[in-house]
């Protein structure tokens, strides 16, 4: 046993390594990125021959992990919450095929949208797919639960969802490790049709899934984490989960015996633990980070009693992440603030790094598109989304991975001309390629600018699957050679780059401009390591 100082993300990664992980699959996304990064840099994972390459997107990641599970070995996938939307097809159906080797799907939610487009709650996906969901509230619990999650996955033959939120993912604490388990041996499923979801088979397997979801409610490896602590003051009972539990304890540590507290840490939870606290307490407060998932299930659609308080009745704000002050107010405790922020303090939003190639590309784009007026540029998810802000004000959309290409096609269909998409290299190989194929097939009058910095920049510079392959990919998809242009976004090339962009904007067919210059952050790191 060792004691390590680990982020929540890293605790999950270390636990997986100690629990006999054979393959780790992921696409970078805040706040989940550090799970794969930790495994990639771990000497233990190299010594244990753990597979640990980034995947092109979350869908390919989960399917690859399912293949590893098919072959009898333990696999883990990690993604941010919106990544689970991309992986949803594989995720939902993997519940019906079931698993062979244990499979954990980590989804890191980002309430308050620190680095995200929405604050969806992954626990809905657990219920949706009928798979168990673990939700640790601290780093040690995250570590310990990974072992149980693998066991539950193999015992019930289902994937297990593992939900963390930003504050746990990125909070560091000391973690005690367990003895290292050996990896599983290669073994194909006993039933050769287990993974064949032909309707006749899928119908049978779906019934099995539904019944195993019910039996999970009695599973000790899940229920042992759902902890009830009695209290003498039955005026209020508190149901909580995840990081909200920590904020609650912070507020009630001096009177720990006062209120009954039920901590839900794994789903599905049995009815009796909920019924017990509701029957014995006059009022119930539900504290959960994210959506009111527990609250809705406890209330049910018919409940309009005033007895239950939480995000739905407004005792706790409906959106945004929690903090100790919000929890204090919800319990009725006073909140003390320090001094106010002086009025001279200005906002400091994120911005392009000095010398960033995206900036030079947008300067040229702004000039080339100027005569067309506003509203012609669709964009995507990455550092370059910052061009929506001053001083660039260049882009008019950022929706989901790859949507720049397809929205540009739709707008061109509607008659917008020119219709331009700006997408990063990694986002392009994640979900932009299929859209480009649509454009080529119907010869849409669109220009796709791939702002290629040879890395996945926003999440800290992970390997991009696109590096060195973009031209061949575009040619292979069918972009004609004379409308496949490669430029270097440097100030000295500005005039020429504007000219090339204008030429392609005027072309009434598919054109691709690859604006290629290495991310200055990864370039600096590379130069340093080469010294």
């Amino acid at each position: 046993m060792k004691k390590l100082l680990l982020l929540g993300d890293e605790a999950i990664a270390q636990a997986a390594l100690d629990a006999g992980l054979s393959g780790m699959y992921a696409y970078p996304g805040t706040p989940s990125t550090e799970i794969m990064e930790y495994i990639q840099s771990s000497e233990q994972s190299t010594a244990q021959n753990v597979l640990k390459e980034w995947s092109s997107n979350e869908k390919t990641a989960i399917e690859t992990a399912l293949g590893m599970s098919y072959a009898g070995k333990r696999a883990m996938v990690a993604m941010k919450h919106v990544g689970l939307n991309v992986a949803a097809d594989g995720f939902i159906n993997s519940a019906i095929t079931g698993v062979n080797g244990g499979l954990i799907v980590v989804s890191a939610d980002d309430p308050s949208m620190h680095s995200s487009q929405n604050e969806q709650d992954s626990r809905f996906y657990g219920k949706f797919a009928f798979v168990p969901c673990f939700e640790p509230s601290n780093q040690q619990e995250a570590y310990d639960m990974v072992f149980d999650a693998f066991e539950v996955s193999e015992k019930y033959k289902v994937p297990v969802l593992f939900r963390v939120t930003t504050r746990l993912a990125h909070s560091r604490a000391s973690v005690s490790t367990k003895e290292i388990l050996l990896q599983k041996n290669l073994s194909i499923p006993a039933d050769p049709l287990q993974f064949v979801l032909l309707p006749a088979i899928a119908r049978k397997k779906y019934k099995i899934l539904l019944s195993s979801y019910e039996s999970l409610k009695g599973e000790n490896r899940i229920s042992k984490y759902n902890n009830y602590k009695d209290g003498f003051n039955k005026k209020l009972g508190i149901i909580t989960c995840g990081i909200a539990y920590n904020y609650l304890l912070e507020n009630i540590i001096d009177s720990l015996n006062e209120y009954p507290v039920l901590k839900i840490t794994a789903y599905p939870f049995p009815k009796d633990i909920i019924k017990n606290i509701i029957d014995t307490c006059e009022e119930i407060l539900i504290l959960e980070e994210g959506a009111p998932v527990i609250e809705e299930s406890v209330r049910g659609i018919l409940d309009d009693s005033k007895k239950i308080h939480g995000r739905i009745d407004g005792t706790v704000p409906r959106d945004g992440e929690l903090n100790p002050a919000i929890v204090a107010k919800a319990i009725g405790l006073p909140v003390s603030y320090g001094q106010e922020i002086p009025s001279l303090v200005r906002m400091r939003p994120p911005s392009f790094c000095n010398g960033c190639g995206h900036g030079d590309m947008f300067n040229s784009l702004n000039e080339a598109i100027k005569s067309s007026g506003p509203g012609h540029v669709f964009s995507d998810i990455g550092c370059y989304t910052l061009a929506a802000l001053p001083p660039y004000n260049s882009i008019n959309s950022c929706v989901d991975m790859g949507a720049s290409v397809t929205m540009a096609i739709g707008a061109a269909d509607a008659g917008l001309f020119p219709s331009v998409a700006v997408i990063g290299d990694s986002t392009f190989t994640h979900s932009g390629m299929t859209g480009l194929l649509d454009a080529v097939v119907k010869n849409s009058p669109v220009t796709i600018i791939i702002s290629d910095n040879s890395t996945t920049g926003m999440t800290g510079g992970q390997k991009s699957q696109a590096t060195g392959r973009l031209e061949k990919i575009c040619e292979g998809i069918g972009v004609s050679r004379e409308h496949l242009r490669v430029i270097i976004p440097l100030r000295k090339n500005h005039g020429e780059n504007v000219r090339i962009m204008k030429e392609e904007f005027e072309y009434k067919g598919v054109s691709v401009i690859i604006a290629s210059r290495e991310c200055i952050q990864t370039a600096a790191r590379r130069k340093k390591s080469e010294k």
Binding site: L5, R172, R346
Partner: protein, 194 residues
Amino acid sequence: MKSDIILSGVGGQGILSIAAAIGLAALSNDLYLKQSEVHGMSQRGGDVQSHLRISDEPVLSDLIPYGKADLIISVEPMESLRYLPWLSEKGWLVTNSNPFINIPDYPPLDDILTEIKQIKNHIIIDADGIAKASGSARSGNIVILGAASPFIDMPFGNLENAVRKLFARKGDLIVEANLKALVAGRESSMALKI
């Protein structure tokens, strides 16, 4: 013993190195700790902060409640003011005097310093200048750590060891330069404290 610390600055200024040094020191002192960090989008030149909580009893919340921070350590003067709602009445604010200007409407530095001086317990030091004078221009963040060290309830030797450990793989020269920066920061702060 309990020390709730907010570290602040601009993405890329090295506040996580300060946090890592205090964290290592706390662990070697057998203390409990939780440290909440900001990763992702804000790291691109935006404001960043880290909540660091050290205690001889288990730490509960990953975030410091408002009004409960014992110390704000800032590598940038305007950023030090952004976290005043967290500072307790008896708390100290230790900040670098050198601004990091990457926004068009950055307020006049004198106004910022005037605002900081209105806080009862404050230390303003020229961390970049002190770092340069001690022969390691890039160690401004470690100078600030040194300047904050009198307000962290831990033996200074633990912090020195942590800095040694943190920079060990970069070689003896870098270790020595950072230790010098740490001591120089501490001394300049002690001189102001009295």
